[in-house]
């Protein structure tokens, strides 16, 4: 090591004035988003989701038109169904997979303790995970494929679809994505078992239809019918019930509240 070179320059440096529950939020968010924007992760995810959601749409729209027309009435209806139903499944699973280690890994590696030894609110630590992952997934796994799907479906329809209704449908799916994301992050604060954090949301995702078949009121309590409702809305149909959307939004808030409470009590 070398000797100290010159006097510190603290007089020129301006202290951060951020206080309260969001202390450190901006800096943490910058770091979290940089992981998407300054690495290949962003491009890889973008290609992956366009490949999955829009790539499969080419089956009814391009390669197997007759087959899908026979089964679904038209290639357009089949492609619409494919985008919205798959959109309410694959990105949700992606959210769970990407988020399941977000908090556990930092706790286990010791980086959470390091960050929290700085003037950072614990709530800011959890919320930046939610905001950064949510933003990345909404943009890369829903908005980008949504734009591509809108263009492809408009071409198939022979004219532009109602953009507001299509966006509302995608927005409804986004609500479900945030529900799964918040659930996964909450579990990451409650347990250190990655398997549990991964399994619980994925089981809920896959078993949603079975639960509804057993007890139809379950459909009103979470995002399980959001995909079907979103497709209907995007096609100009009515919103059959607001309850699934309301309960999904409330559930997301509740999961985050539990995550903030639990992480606030965590010891390192």
């Amino acid at each position: 090591m070398t000797a100290e070179r010159s006097a510190p320059t603290a007089t020129e440096l301006q202290r951060v004035a951020e206080r309260g529950a969001h202390r450190g939020f901006a800096n943490l968010l910058r770091k979290e988003l940089a992981a998407w924007t300054r690495t290949r992760a962003g491009w890889v995810q973008a290609l992956l989701w366009v490949g999955i959601l829009n790539g499969l749409m080419t089956l009814p729209l391009v390669f197997m038109r007759e087959l899908f027309a026979g089964e679904m009435g038209s290639p357009f209806a089949a492609a619409m169904d494919m985008f919205f139903n798959l959109g309410a499944l694959a990105p949700y699973a992606g959210a769970v997979i990407l988020a399941h280690g977000a908090i556990i890994a930092e706790r286990q590696l010791g980086t959470a303790a390091w960050v929290l030894s700085k003037p950072v609110a614990r709530s800011a630590f959890v919320l930046t995970k939610f905001v950064a992952l949510g933003l990345a997934l909404l943009v890369l796994a829903l908005a980008l494929p949504g734009v591509v799907a809108y263009g492809a479906l408009s071409l198939e329809a022979g004219g532009p679809l109602d953009a507001a209704r299509f966006a509302a449908g995608v927005g409804m799916i986004a609500l479900g994505l945030l529900w799964y994301l918040a659930l996964t992050l909450m579990l990451g604060t409650l347990t250190s078992a990655r398997g549990v954090v991964l399994a619980v949301p994925l089981v809920l995702l896959v078993a949603g239809d079975m639960l509804i078949a057993l007890q139809p009121t379950v459909a009103e309590l979470g995002p399980w019918v959001v995909g079907r409702m979103a497709m209907l809305v995007a096609q100009g149909g009515p919103l059959l019930s607001a309850w699934p959307l309301v309960s999904t939004a409330l559930g997301t808030g509740a999961f985050l509240a539990v995550a903030l409470w639990r992480f606030g009590r965590e010891e390192f």
Binding site: M1, T2, T9, L13, R15, K31, E267, F268
Partner: protein, 325 residues
């Protein structure tokens, strides 16, 4: 070791009262009472599992006390921990960073928790710190390729980003080579003028060299907390060591007859050594040699004022505590 530059009448920077931390049935820290004066360097000593790391984590808000309280800069660490951390630099025992970031990016990330800007001043501060810890030539390499010593140096740099009023360092020299260790001690000594340093270590020599005060902990209990010279002086009496040849028994008797002598002990070894405990240092310095030379046939081979090594004090305290326990 220099003296602390403490402002007279200044409140303690760290003050704990009955600070206790239990993990289930294990008491990691047991009623710690400590007051760390401003701009002092306090060495925190104790065997593994003594509670040093737990105490530091409590001070920085990474753990919550089971009982008792701790204040840093007069702020309760349980309620105002973020405000406390804004003025504290903390180096963990095994510092962990984001492996994909470089040292420069890491310091930039840390600096942004404390400073809004301007960017040029932040970058200059980062350059200073990289120079300070000798990482300037590795500043832009990912941390995943760093050795243990380089990580430790980065840890020291990141703990100093905000020019902290209090530096809490858990084993700062643990992973460093001897040259790195010397450099860390030199940095600590330099920081004395503007900051308070509270550091734990197993290397007793380091504490003896730089610490103004020493706290000794074992099994969560504070065994001793005193200015270093006081601790090294022993139990109040000053001891002189006399290497002699000749009639030792006669010399011992002559010394015991002096009013300023509290006691005389024989040391082990081929050449007789006498340890003379004196309650009046001036009298001892003026008279001890004369008394010895007045005894017929006594030859004095060596004479020095004895101070204890910290290691002796530490081991004696820990042994006593364990025997009592």
């Amino acid at each position: 070791m220099a003296n602390a530059v403490t402002t007279p009448g200044a409140p303690p920077v760290v003050e704990t009262r009955g600070l206790t931390k239990r993990f289930g049935t294990l008491t990691a820290l047991d009623g710690l009472d400590l007051a760390v004066p401003e701009r002092s360097i306090v060495g925190f000593l104790g065997p593994n599992g003594a509670g040093k790391t737990t105490a530091m984590k409590l001070l920085v808000g990474l753990a919550r006390p089971t009982a008792g309280s701790a204040q840093v800069f007069g702020l309760d660490v349980a309620r105002r921990s973020a405000d406390v951390r804004a003025r504290v630099g903390y180096l963990a025992q095994d510092p962990r960073f984001y492996e994909h970031l470089s040292a420069r990016e890491t310091l930039r990330f840390v600096a942004r928790f404390f400073y809004d800007g301007p960017t040029s001043a932040i970058e200059r501060r980062i350059d200073e710190l990289l120079d300070l810890v000798g990482l300037a030539d590795k500043a832009d390499r990912p941390i995943r390729g760093f050795s243990g010593g380089e990580r430790q140096r980065l840890g020291i740099a990141q703990a100093n980003v905000n020019e902290p009023d209090l530096l809490l360092m858990d084993e700062p020299a643990a992973a460093l080579d001897p040259a790195g260790r010397q450099a860390v001690l030199a940095i600590l000594a330099r920081l004395r003028e503007r900051t308070t340093v509270f550091f734990s270590t197993h290397i007793l020599d380091d504490v003896q060299r730089v610490a103004d005060r020493v706290a000794i902990l074992d099994h969560g209990r504070l065994l001793a907390y005193a200015p270093t010279p006081e601790l090294l002086a022993g139990d109040g009496a000053t001891t002189f060591e006399l290497g002699v040849r000749g009639p030792v028994d006669a010399l011992t008797a002559a010394l015991r007859a002096e009013p300023w002598v509290e006691g005389v002990d024989r040391g082990e070894g081929e050449d007789p050594l006498l340890y003379v405990r004196a309650n009046d240092v001036d009298a001892a310095e003026a008279r001890l040699l004369r008394v010895a030379l007045d005894v017929p046939d006594v030859v004095v081979r060596s004479f020095r004022r004895r101070s204890f090594e910290l290691e002796e004090v530490f081991l004696r305290l820990v042994d006593d505590h364990r025997r009592q326990a």
